[in-house]
Every structure is written in structure tokens, then in C-alpha cells.
């Protein structure tokens, strides 16, 4: 899957299209644009979206940004669909202070991807490419 960078950002930012749903439930019909952020510990979803999913709230936590005061968030459990794959039982931070979805490392670390900065696209790699790259690394 190839996804263009989000040009609402300057410079453009890597992004992916994702689906969200309650654990074991159907995905919302519309895909959501999600920003790729390796600096985020956890995936963050606007609370207004989370509340529509019928997903379970599980715990409370605090979200820290570089200079802002930590603010309280609620952790929900959701399933995330990316390029036909379903990642089940993923924790997301439901944040009422944001209107964008941020894919954090709890999801990114499950994905083999290629950030093609000059072409401004994100590629999710297929199994053959992943195997080839891993073999080459082993040489």
C-alpha cells in the first residue's frame, strides 16, 4: 500500500489510512488519515471518534508533550485495520485536545514500512520485500 504524505504539514508528513472499530466488531465504514509519529508512545485518537466506536474504556493515564503540562486521557481498546490487516486489541489514548489521529509506536512497531521522503509517500512493504531486506541485512 502506498500512501501520499500529508501536505497539510510543512514539510509534508508521513501518513497512513486506517480503519477503527471496537474489539471484534465491524470497522467504521470510512477510513481515517493517521499521522505516523515515532515519537509517540501510543496511538492517539480524538475522543470524539473513539466515542462513536462502542469500544471499551479500560484505564486512565497522563499524556506528556515536550513543553506542555501533562493532561489526563483515557485508554480505550480498539481494533485497527491497515492495508487489509487487522491488529486486534490495541490500546489507544482518547484525547479530547486533538483533532488528528497519531499512529504511535505501539502500532508502528508492528509494521514494515518505507518512508520515501523524496517521493513523499509511505509504502507498507509486502512479505517478499521484507524477507529480501532481512536477508540482505544478514549478509
Amino acid at each position: 500500500m502506498t500512501t501520499p504524505y500529508n501536505r497539510d504539514y510543512d514539510p509534508p508528513a508521513p501518513a497512513l489510512q486506517i480503519h477503527l472499530g471496537a474489539p471484534g466488531g465491524p470497522f467504521a465504514t470510512e477510513p481515517f488519515a493517521a499521522l505516523i509519529d515515532t515519537g509517540a508512545d501510543m496511538t492517539i485518537v480524538p475522543k470524539e471518534i473513539v466515542l462513536t466506536l462502542h469500544a471499551p474504556a479500560l484505564a486512565k493515564a497522563h499524556l506528556h508533550s515536550p513543553w506542555g503540562e501533562p493532561h489526563p486521557i483515557v485508554i480505550y481498546l480498539v481494533d485497527i485495520g491497515i492495508d487489509g490487516a487487522r491488529f486486534v486489541g490495541i490500546e489507544v489514548a482518547a484525547d479530547e485536545t486533538t483533532d488528528e489521529i497519531t499512529l504511535g509506536r505501539n502500532v508502528l512497531n508492528k509494521l514494515p514500512m518505507f518512508l520515501d521522503g523524496p517521493a513523499r509517500v509511505t509504502d507498507l512493504l509486502n512479505d517478499a520485500t521484507v524477507q529480501r531486506l532481512r536477508s540482505a541485512r544478514g549478509r
Partner: protein, 123 residues
């Protein structure tokens, strides 16, 4: 689908809101209910989180780095994978609001986002 009677005066107001939002009454009411149920569950989780905090030292000693499921201050389940704990709890207790939290050194989990965003200004 289960039919539910809505009082006439409410129905008229709901119709207007649905019209404004380009939705229909059934969808709008279901969306509201879904949202209110989620917020109700959040309140129950917040209450349980207080009991989690109160017991944090004991939980940390017994379950460091694990997820614990807590109801009325009682540990119902625990394990290293949240989805496994969730599925067991769901199977045993249905949709009951039960806290499932990672036991970290701090009583409340601390998450970090390191992405500052530059807002360019004309000045």
C-alpha cells in the same frame, strides 16, 4: 433492532437536529446512546482507577509490568498481554466496566508524545 418509544416533544427536536446534521433520527439517537454509554463507562473506570491508585504499591509488588483487571478493588485477572486479559474478562463479565491497567512504577501510566509542531507566525 428493538423499537423504543420516544416522547413526541423530544422526537420533534431530534428530527430537527438530525436534519441539521444530515442524519436521520434512528442514526442520531443510536450515536447519542453509544456516546453516553461510553462516557458512563469512563466514569466507572475513573472510580475504579482511584482504588487502583490506593492499592498501587501492593499491585506493583505482585504484578509488575502486567495488566491487571480490577473490579471493586479486587483483582479479577492479570497477565502480560492486554488483549488476552480483555478477552477473558469479556467472556466472564460481558460489557461490565472493569478497569484493565498496566502496573507501572507510577500509579498512573505516563505516555509521551515528543512531536512539537511549529506554528509559523508573521511576527
Amino acid at each position: 433492532m428493538t423499537p423504543i418509544a420516544i416522547q413526541d416533544d423530544l422526537l420533534e427536536s431530534i428530527r430537527k437536529v438530525a436534519e441539521q446534521q444530515g442524519s436521520d433520527v434512528e442514526q442520531l439517537v443510536n450515536d447519542w446512546l453509544r456516546r453516553e454509554l461510553a462516557l458512563l463507562r469512563e466514569r466507572a473506570i475513573a472510580e475504579e482507577a482511584e482504588r487502583f491508585r490506593a492499592q498501587h504499591a501492593a499491585l506493583l509488588a505482585q504484578y509488575p509490568g502486567e495488566y491487571v483487571a480490577l473490579r471493586d478493588g479486587v483483582v479479577l485477572d492479570h497477565g502480560p498481554e492486554i488483549n488476552d486479559v480483555y478477552l477473558r474478562i469479556k467472556s466472564g463479565y460481558g460489557d461490565e466496566p472493569i478497569l484493565i491497567a498496566l502496573v507501572t512504577p507510577q500509579p498512573e501510566r505516563q505516555l509521551r508524545v515528543r512531536r512539537p509542531r511549529i506554528i509559523r507566525s508573521a511576527v
